[in-house]
């Protein structure tokens, strides 16, 4: 059934349809309405689950880890400061090979204190061993939560996944979302049944001390899990499409890139706006395209390598910045295509930090700049967009 709902409600419906059994969460702006809705589902009996009102985000993840180890399907949601507080236990979840699914409402890090969209929190967790999916619509949020359980619960993967909703822009925007029938979701996503779980009668110790002579083999296996996740994402999306009639673009969602002189790389909600801009610019005769990073982990290296040969310039829009380096997506894109025969010019645009609106006009200007840069190379590899005090005007 198609309903108008916010991204946060899409998350809550996603977790409900996936039949999450244990939900442990702590409120943080702008994630709150996810947990409020889920608490409502649980208290009304619509969702047969246990809701643990934990006293902080670290405990939220720690409780999910314990519950998932004991064989329950778990879900949590957080944002920004809460996500970074979880950092330690995020690594724990992946090291323990637990397919926990979490929504992160991506929000800026303080200071300056700021509750608006920014990908710093999410990007900072890129090494934690979580699959990370950026979404561009509320529909994608709901669908990806359901898909994530299926992707992650495969014995070859068994890693956790983070579904990224842009703060306010998705979390609080109401738009039509198709909420599938429970029976249909059940036919797609079977109950969680791990090969090994913590249970009485089986005296096993989960997560024990491993010496240097064995540690690497376990890490190697986690790497294989992430590699397998790559294939799983694609396969599960095919299955999803077969049942639900829609898909969201695999790891790298390409929009009009086939003949594009210049391609913009972006993640999250701004990519949706960028699609409109691509259409408008093409109407004016400019061949531009959009490559939306849907999976940031595992990173779509292969997809970028095949894109490299088809375009002259890649404009990477990062909604975060790695201090002392550049935008993380830019760094990844460049490293992906380094081994390619033909390498397009790549430039990094840092934009939209702390909720600064990225308007269609700004996106158009980035495309225009890239069309020039792709021919003569970039003077500055990394440009901060729409910063007062810098010479270039963007608005």
């Amino acid at each position: 059934m198609r309903m108008v709902m916010t991204g946060n409600y899409a998350s809550a419906y996603g977790a409900k349809l996936a039949r999450a059994e244990v939900i442990a969460a702590y409120p943080i702006t702008p994630q709150t309405s996810i947990v409020e809705k889920l608490a409502e589902f649980v208290s009304s009996g619509e969702l047969k689950a246990k809701f643990i009102p934990v006293e902080g985000e670290h405990s939220a993840m720690a409780a999910c880890i314990a519950a998932q180890t004991a064989g329950a399907r778990t879900y949590t949601a957080t944002s920004s400061q809460g996500l970074t507080l979880m950092h330690e236990v995020l690594m724990w979840a992946s090291g323990a090979r637990l397919p926990i699914v979490m929504t992160n409402v991506s929000r800026a890090m303080a200071p300056p204190w700021n509750v608006w969209v920014d990908h710093m929190d999410t990007v900072a967790q890129r090494d934690t061993g979580w699959l990370q999916f950026f979404c561009r619509s509320n529909q994608e949020v709901l669908d990806t939560i359901i898909m994530a359980y299926k992707i992650c619960e495969t014995s070859g993967v068994m890693l956790p996944a983070m579904i990224v909703e842009d703060a306010f822009i998705l979390s609080h925007t109401s738009e039509p979302v198709d909420v599938p029938e429970q029976a249909l979701v059940d036919s797609f996503l079977p109950a969680y049944s791990p090969e090994l779980k913590l249970e009485v009668g089986k005296p096993m110790g989960f997560g024990s001390l491993v010496k240097p002579d064995q540690y690497m083999e376990f890490r190697y296996k986690a790497m294989l899990g992430m590699k397998e996740a790559r294939e799983r994402i694609l396969r599960v999306e095919q299955e999803f499409k077969h049942i639900f009639g829609r898909a969201h673009g695999g790891l790298l969602d390409l929009y009009k890139c086939a003949d594009a002189d210049v391609v913009m790389v972006a993640a999250g909600s701004v990519a949706a706006t960028a699609m409109d801009v691509v259409d408008a610019m093409r109407e004016k005769g400019m061949r531009v395209g959009l490559a939306r990073i849907r999976a940031f982990r595992p990173f779509p290296h292969e997809e970028f390598r095949s894109l490299a040969g088809k375009t002259e310039g890649i404009a990477v829009l990062d909604r975060s910045f790695t201090f002392g380096a550049a935008g993380a997506m830019f760094t990844e894109v460049k490293s992906s295509i380094y081994s390619c025969q033909k390498r397009p010019v790549v430039k990094n645009y840092i934009a939209g930090l702390g909720g600064r609106d990225i308007t269609p006009k700004i996106l158009e200007k980035i495309f225009e700049d890239m069309l020039v840069v792709s021919k003569r190379g970039a003077e500055d590899e990394v440009e901060w967009v729409d910063v007062a005090g810098l010479p270039r005007r963007w608005r």
Partner: protein
């Protein structure tokens, strides 16, 4: 012996009894029980931190593969029937 990544579980799960650790090798002194004096009070068994003492008809049998030689049993024994002797001595 390092196991191949193909032979191990996804995450370390310990399922082997710790009797695989021969902690008796740490020992400097060992308990020797004078069975004549033993009153079968079971106190030595009760206070062994390593569960290395078992009772057979009330008499303590020290499993020297695991006894670390802490000496609690000797200290606590009310009839003083356990003495700690240096390894290698009688």
């Amino acid at each position: 012996m390092t196991k191949s990544y193909e032979e191990i579980t996804l995450t370390p799960i310990s399922d082997t009894p710790s009797t695989m650790n021969i902690t008796g090798l740490w020992r400097v002194v060992k308990p020797v029980v004078d069975k004549e004096k033993c009153k079968k009070c079971t106190i030595c068994w009760k206070f062994c931190p390593d569960a290395a003492i078992t009772l057979v008809d009330g008499e303590p049998i020290v499993d020297l593969r695991y006894c670390k030689g802490c000496g609690i049993c000797a200290f606590e024994c009310p009839s003083k029937c356990i003495i700690m002797v240096k390894e290698g001595e009688q």
